[in-house]
């Protein structure tokens, strides 16, 4: 049963990722990525991580993908790759290097991973409990947890600064002009 569920979910995840890679329309890419995130969330559940399943769905599949879709629709940047590719030699080179990376990663995965069954007993039953994760988060990893809060604060401030309304002098120039021209005499 576990194997059937794993292979089904893994196939969906791979199909979503490949479809995201080849889709011409950025909105289709975003929706295929959403499928991939959902599949990975199910894999988290298979790996006895119900808490990560929840935040994967709420943060990745919820918040982040909505942000992506919103920006794609806001910019109207669904298809920007219609123009001729300026670096035609780059694509086959990327495929070759990607294949090389895959070979290296597979060799590492096969050599590094053990096929032993996980240890059972009392520790296995308590594993993945959100309470134990929270306990670790607020004791051993308290400092990184607080730094996470600062990172989020800096991100919020950064987004506000980046997208704030321009001042009066800058907004008078034509939209196509480069912003740096406003400081020249």
């Amino acid at each position: 049963m576990d194997f059937v569920l794993f292979f089904l979910t893994a196939a969906i995840a791979l199909a979503g990722a490949i479809a995201m890679l080849v889709a011409r329309n950025a909105i289709h890419s975003a929706l295929f990525l959403l499928l991939n995130f959902g599949a990975i969330a199910v894999l988290f559940l298979l790996l006895q991580s119900p808490f990560l399943f929840t935040i994967q769905l709420s943060i990745y599949a919820g918040a982040i993908m909505v942000l992506f879709l919103f920006v794609v629709m806001l910019l109207g940047a669904e298809q920007v790759e219609a123009a001729q590719d300026k670096l035609p030699w780059q694509q086959p080179l990327a495929l070759v290097m990607g294949a090389g990376l895959l070979v290296i990663a597979v060799i590492t995965a096969v050599r590094g991973g053990s096929n032993d069954a996980p240890p059972g007993g009392e520790a296995a039953e308590a594993f993945g409990d959100p309470a134990s994760l929270g306990e670790l988060l607020f004791t051993e990893y308290l400092l990184p947890f607080q730094i996470t809060g600062i990172i989020l604060l800096v991100a919020v401030i950064g987004v506000v600064v980046l997208n704030q309304q321009r001042t009066q002098a800058q907004s008078e120039e034509t939209p196509g002009e480069r912003p740096s021209s406003s400081v020249q005499p």
Partner: protein, 100 residues
Amino acid sequence: MVPTTFYVLLSAALFTIGVLGVLIRRNAIVVFMSVELMLNAANLALVAYARERLAVDGQVLVFFVITVAAAEVAVGLALLVAIFKSKRTADIDEVSMLRG
């Protein structure tokens, strides 16, 4: 129980697809999505090893990765909107002002 190696192999495949997305695609938004895919692949490997060793530390690390990814997406997309406002394109080949 599915062996950890299967999960890590899937993670490797997903990571490679993400790398290919960054290298091949020219739409900056799709490049961002590929970065997210790579982060997710790394998360999957972390969770798989955490289950194998019964160490919750791996799951805590995934929690941090997801938080940083959320911050990164917010800032990255804000940068993208700012670039789009000045250059009128999301094609990364067109954004080459810093080239020497």
